[in-house]
Amino acid sequence: MTPISHYLILGAILFAVGMFGVLTRRNSIGILISIEIMLGAVNLNLVAFSRFAETSTLNGQVFAVFVMTVAAGEAAVGLALILALYRSVRTVFADKFNILKW
């Protein structure tokens, strides 16, 4: 069996890649894509701990189900917000969204 540290390092790499995307993307849909990558990395960690720490209750997998629920809601609301913003600003680039400033 592959040791747990390999799974955790894979999760860490995916999380760092996702964070890089969140920090550098201009396209707000790209930012949402990067956030989904980060959530997937967190899910991987939860499932790995659920396999290697305690398998009788599967708490980690239940938590991962909740993370997926929140991710689905977040994607739906986020994309609806982007569409609503696109209607008023006619762009999806995050550095053009300054209509809340004053």
């Binding site: 069996m1 592959t2 040791p3 540290s5 390999h6 955790l8 894979l10 860490a12 790499i13 995916l14 760092a16 890649v17 964070m19 890089f20 995307g21 920090l23 550098t24 993307r25 201009r26 396209n27 849909i29 790209g30 949402l32 894509i33 990067s34 989904e36 990558i37 997937g40 899910n43 991987l44 499932v47 396999r51 290697f52 720490a53 305690e54 009788s56 209750t57 599967l58 708490n59 997998q61 239940v62 189900v65 909740f66 997926m68 929140v70 991710a71 689905a72 809601g73 994607a75 739906a76 609301v77 994309l79 609806a80 917000l81 982007i82 569409l83 609503a84 209607r87 999806v92 550095d95």
Partner: protein
């Protein structure tokens, strides 16, 4: 853990992990946002393969259903609804490129340092075969409050998405 332990990983894990990381990097760096969404779908396929290696069969299927089947499709809808400006010439990254890479590399280094330094126990508990049964029981017994809150959250997200997505007509 030492670097020689890297060879103790199974071939399937190495392949799936490599595919997942490559597609994740593609999803955050490609210029065409449509290709990014497709790379995200491929990354979630590889990640669900890793879930299968971790004996989480239910989560692997749910991951494909929800992420590839719903979220990526939603994103593609949003892309084709908004992108009249998807040309290769438009700059896709902001001015934070260098600081962000340094920060993420530092974060990754810290993660790997901590993970390698922690003393993980070598023994692996017995595999839980009835994952669906146990997850269902857990959802409706131990985590029933969280389950209800999640259903309210999904309802709120649904109503909010419909409200935000609706064309607001000036009276």
């Amino acid at each position: 853990m030492s670097w020689t332990d890297l060879f103790s990983a199974s071939l399937a894990f190495k392949l799936l992990g490599l595919v997942a990381v490559v597609f994740a990097v593609m999803a955050v760096t490609l210029k065409n946002i449509f290709h990014c969404a497709l790379s995200l779908a491929a990354m979630f396929f590889a990640l669900s393969g890793v879930f299968v290696l971790l004996d989480a069969d239910f989560l692997a299927v749910v991951q494909i259903l929800i992420y590839v089947g719903a979220i990526v499709i939603l994103m593609i809808f949003a892309i084709v609804l908004t992108e009249r400006i998807t040309s290769e010439a438009i700059k896709q990254t902001n001015q934070l490129l260098v600081p962000a890479s340094i920060l993420c590399a530092a974060l990754l280094g810290a993660f790997i340092y901590v993970i390698r330094g922690a003393g993980w126990s070598a023994q692996v508990p017995v595999v839980q075969k009835e994952t669906i049964k146990v997850i269902g029981r857990q959802l409706l017994s131990t985590h029933v409050e969280a389950f209800e809150v999640a259903s309210v959250l999904l309802l709120a997200a649904l109503v909010g998405a419909v409200f935000l997505g609706k064309e607001i007509t000036k009276k």
